[in-house]
Symmetry: D3
Subunit: 282 residues, 6 copies
Amino acid sequence: MSDFRAPPSVEQAVVRRALDEDLGLLGDLTSTAIVPADAQGVGSITTRKAGVLAGTSAATEAFRQVDARVALDWHATDGTRITEGAELAKVEGATRSILVAERTALNLLCHLSGVATLTARYVEAIVGTNARIRDTRKTLPGLRALEKAAVRAGGGFNHRESLSDAVLIKDNHLTYLSLRDAVDQARARWPGRVVEVECDTLDQVAEAKTVAPDLVLLDNMTPVHVADRRRHPCGLGPGGGVGGVTLDSARGYAEAGADFISVGAVTHSAPALDIGLDLKVY
Amino acid sequence: MSDFRAPPSVEQAVVRRALDEDLGLLGDLTSTAIVPADAQGVGSITTRKAGVLAGTSAATEAFRQVDARVALDWHATDGTRITEGAELAKVEGATRSILVAERTALNLLCHLSGVATLTARYVEAIVGTNARIRDTRKTLPGLRALEKAAVRAGGGFNHRESLSDAVLIKDNHLTYLSLRDAVDQARARWPGRVVEVECDTLDQVAEAKTVAPDLVLLDNMTPVHVADRRRHPCGLGPGGGVGGVTLDSARGYAEAGADFISVGAVTHSAPALDIGLDLKVY
Amino acid sequence: MSDFRAPPSVEQAVVRRALDEDLGLLGDLTSTAIVPADAQGVGSITTRKAGVLAGTSAATEAFRQVDARVALDWHATDGTRITEGAELAKVEGATRSILVAERTALNLLCHLSGVATLTARYVEAIVGTNARIRDTRKTLPGLRALEKAAVRAGGGFNHRESLSDAVLIKDNHLTYLSLRDAVDQARARWPGRVVEVECDTLDQVAEAKTVAPDLVLLDNMTPVHVADRRRHPCGLGPGGGVGGVTLDSARGYAEAGADFISVGAVTHSAPALDIGLDLKVY
Amino acid sequence: MSDFRAPPSVEQAVVRRALDEDLGLLGDLTSTAIVPADAQGVGSITTRKAGVLAGTSAATEAFRQVDARVALDWHATDGTRITEGAELAKVEGATRSILVAERTALNLLCHLSGVATLTARYVEAIVGTNARIRDTRKTLPGLRALEKAAVRAGGGFNHRESLSDAVLIKDNHLTYLSLRDAVDQARARWPGRVVEVECDTLDQVAEAKTVAPDLVLLDNMTPVHVADRRRHPCGLGPGGGVGGVTLDSARGYAEAGADFISVGAVTHSAPALDIGLDLKVY
Amino acid sequence: MSDFRAPPSVEQAVVRRALDEDLGLLGDLTSTAIVPADAQGVGSITTRKAGVLAGTSAATEAFRQVDARVALDWHATDGTRITEGAELAKVEGATRSILVAERTALNLLCHLSGVATLTARYVEAIVGTNARIRDTRKTLPGLRALEKAAVRAGGGFNHRESLSDAVLIKDNHLTYLSLRDAVDQARARWPGRVVEVECDTLDQVAEAKTVAPDLVLLDNMTPVHVADRRRHPCGLGPGGGVGGVTLDSARGYAEAGADFISVGAVTHSAPALDIGLDLKVY
Amino acid sequence: MSDFRAPPSVEQAVVRRALDEDLGLLGDLTSTAIVPADAQGVGSITTRKAGVLAGTSAATEAFRQVDARVALDWHATDGTRITEGAELAKVEGATRSILVAERTALNLLCHLSGVATLTARYVEAIVGTNARIRDTRKTLPGLRALEKAAVRAGGGFNHRESLSDAVLIKDNHLTYLSLRDAVDQARARWPGRVVEVECDTLDQVAEAKTVAPDLVLLDNMTPVHVADRRRHPCGLGPGGGVGGVTLDSARGYAEAGADFISVGAVTHSAPALDIGLDLKVY
């Protein structure tokens, strides 16, 4: 299993749903009407734009579920930078099977490579700094595991997988008690887990310093504030991230010393990378 | 049931998967540690960018699945143009429940409103012509029904829901037989169903005219070709669409007389519309 | 819960699958295009042929899953003999919802009432005897629980629910060992469970008498053989059934003393009972 | 993939449910008690009545899910006319596995071949005319995709797969607006899709002619009305179907010029075709 | 299929759920970070306590679902008595795959072998008598089929698989009618099925004798009562069991003549048998 | 939502599976045969042994899924210490419904209260120290979320929910690289996440001190070693846990300064707490 891959059973379930959507109750009307049942074909999966590849195992799974005898030969792996016009894989098998699986495989490949590609652009924007690009929980329903794998393929890192793996205290939680009490309660209830705090104001940052969360996430602040935060070596924990950052502003924060830069856009707004399948039949 | 809504059972399943992703096995660590179990809150779902609303019933379903006693009061319906900063809905109920459902509800709302908003931009680009914007099968796995509903909310129209509801003959299918034979076979196998033909060249268009498909989809052609196609009233069926069109080029095709303009981007590359939830607690 | 009803969760799952089949990804194109979203209607579910009613709770569930606000008022319960033209229920609610649920509800009602009706005809054929009509495992995939409930509604009785609830030794099992050894092994492995033996020949019946199974099922025999079997009070257990019987031949076997008459046709070949829904809208 | 087969993933799900029903929690009590674990057998799947074969891939899937090492060798394919007493396939493998899968495989084979056989009888009844036999949405819950494939195997054609792939306007929809407005609204909402109209009276037919739906479905009419309809070449679209037709009356309608004859009975009332499995063990 | 195995599709579903629980959305963080993707390993599954083995096919399925290329070589089968420190199986394949499947496989193996081991202790306690140890419906949710198979592996026998396969009349049912009427109604409603009666008092036993259920289950009684019951050869059916028995008291009941001894503890309170996996990597 | 409750959708799915297991295809034979359909009853859920309560919402869900009109009135909440013979809840509704749901509700309640009770015994054993009892991934398949909630109800704390939420380096991982490199790679791949190291020897502990994991888990060591480890304030991170501890040995480790004591037994070997339902009917 590649580091850039979601758990296989999640992948299988996503592909199954996508095929169910695309085959309906009657299957592929066009292929069954026009393509001879015994026709064999060779397809070429080709990039139409440069980017970073992700989703190859999901695409493979789509062909496998339709017809286990279709053979895929990938020339690149997830995480690879791909150039426009490059052949990524050869697909060989029954023409009907290739045509039936094509759209599902490409939808996965184009979306996940889109996520990896946008992630990689952010990673490039901060190259040479110590900051890391990190995803969020702003993922598309049912696709989180695959999108988070694609973020890794693009050189990014995964923040929380769910509400269930780390504590993250935000403004909304602080109506009932002080930041100090909130951190204390979180540590008491979930000892041994990461506790992060999101701060909107400099006052909150000052308070956070005194309670030593594992990470302070700065929201709506400028690189100056980030740099300022770094002058408090006494305590903001192992790192500090920044939300709401764009491709243009990322470098400023990274250079100011942010450890993590969270980017929701890499999962919720990544345009598909254009990848197609050209079929040759015999 | 609104016209702009996916079948409820599909919606329920999508929400269930999203909540399963986001709650993991331990649920929301932060809320259970910090927010009193009996705390009540009022949330305000607010736009942070102008756009077109979609996904309200999916968002409602997210709150309902978490806690049926949470009350939502929507001030706008799917398909409504929403301005920046407007309150879309009030959410009222247990604070923990609101916080648990928040991200799932917003992920759906932001993505689907993103789809509707991008669709609406294409629709505006061709306003005043007879052309219609149409989606494709390039949807995100597991989300097709909801995305196609969002396309309708944005003023667009749905092309095929799957491989199973209409015949669409492309180049890949024509290796084995002529276009004429392909159309004949499709009509013989699936009588009474729509048969469309995608043409890449003018020669194909000329041939298509003689076999009278219900629709000719022109690929990689200029508005001039579209206009030219219209001078053959004898036969291209009720309409003719154009693929691979951008926001800039759409109007040219529409004015040249295209009946449909297919846009894959509205589902595979729509950026999320920024919508947030602000919570007030008592 | 009525005796004539399948476990509710099975019923819910069957209805969910049927609705998923019938709504596809776009829902009911016709209703959403033509019927106003706020239109209300009253439907009348009416028999078009006489028979025995079954499946009312499944039909109710179909309306409930589409729209919980649709109200059903049944005038008859499962197991009731219904005359041609009688109104079985009133349905009231949003017209769109009624139209969307109609076919799923009727498909269930017509099939299950068909099963109950055919069962009842067999039951009538043997009225006044001590024999009972019994179903088999020859049910339609996914519908066994509902069909077996419909058999009960028709006055029949359920034989095995699955391979898992009783032992039934047939010819195919006897290649490896004698009938005596087979019964002994079955009693040893699954003590306290019913052990039945199916006999094709009189010699087998004679042998079966010596091993005392709980039931001997006679296959391919005449009523004379059944009567003959009854002259051996020493041992065929509490009863003896007969397979492969028709509506015409059933009474002969019953009068000869068969305790059970198994009929595969009541589940695998029952024609649908014609039941329709007439809608009045305001 | 054969034209006569449902999408494989649907088939797999149907078989899974059927096996779950038949194996319960303890599995096959009889086989495990009596048949040696290492016994091998050869089975012969044989017709006991003549008909048209369907469901072979579903039956194969049943054996495969129970034990992938069981080998099936089919001598006939879906859509083949089979004679009484013919061997359809040889099954070879562990005796326990064959016995466990037997009933599930046969239930599928007998029902689907029953559907194909009844369809074929209707097709024969109109042989030599231009009419086609078409199925309806009156299918058994959970089995629509497989039944519709069986209809194709029997020489029939598929009408709508669901409410979601074409518009069909019936009386119930016309309470709110005129037929003309209904067709206009349907064309406006779902452009490029088939719009059919069902007419109960000659007045409706006359009105339908003026609005040019793609198909007029005549309900409760005689062949004379069908013929009459054909004298209006100006408008009833590419075809015209007739509902509620029997094996006896079909030919009259076909000769009168009906393009399609819809028959609900082929899916909701087809008696099972008798097919059995005879096992030889070594 | 072994007699000691649950239906394969149930087993597959249990394993799938366990892996989904254990892999989350990101998979195995540790292996993917530290273990080279191409590293191969050999694991040894070893007992750390003596007991009776069960669950081998479920454990095998766990490895198979993670990576079908992992090879398992079992040296013992379900139902085998295993000594402390014995190697049960060799596992060979990709190290990452072995580590990912390890916990799921062991959780199944340890729990099911725990059930088999506790069952075997009860079986030993009554060795030499005619009594049999039997399980109950007090199983852990979702694991009943596997636990009942493990009971068989431990030498026990299965009582009801569910509420659906036999009648068991208890005190709670007798508020509405007499025991005689209850048995009569049960026999009338479910003819041919086993009817058991649970008695708490000697008066009930006396009454039960007159209605001849297939089995009388004595509750809260001493061996003396059991022996007494045996002095009534006239009719308690094929046997009589005893509830609420411990390892210490079992033999007394068995020697007094109980046919079955039901033990809830073998499924609801069996401690896990300690089995581990030691990995050697190259 | 209580802190001691699993995510509701997980709970619903567990209950659904348990009811499917227990109702089979025919439902509750006994109740439908004997208990009048309209009979109402009041049940009393009562402890038969003292312990700690858990699983009340799962038990409630069992009644709800069977019949939403059954009313439960709980007198205690999860996490409460309950005495022998105390009434925990009153159940009121249709007698059939109560009897059908009873076993499923009790199976959940008894198992989860068993987990909570055993956890509480460990917690008591170390009372007054700073150590905390923590669960493991040794949970029963499909029940992890509910069991981990029960551990919290018993006063314990949750360690990892899955392989996916924290890094835990064990011996098996260290074949390929040194502990230092392993920790470095883990921190590099999954920055911001907890990294724990399990040590079997004092040499490993010494090495671990130099790489500063968030937690060192000591395996197979005595309290003396734990105390020794504490004399190295320079580096073992926020805490250190101990594996393989019993009720007798726990206090020694806790007093020696262990921060966490991991106990697999609380989930894999907790005996059921005896809780029953007594029904009164009118």
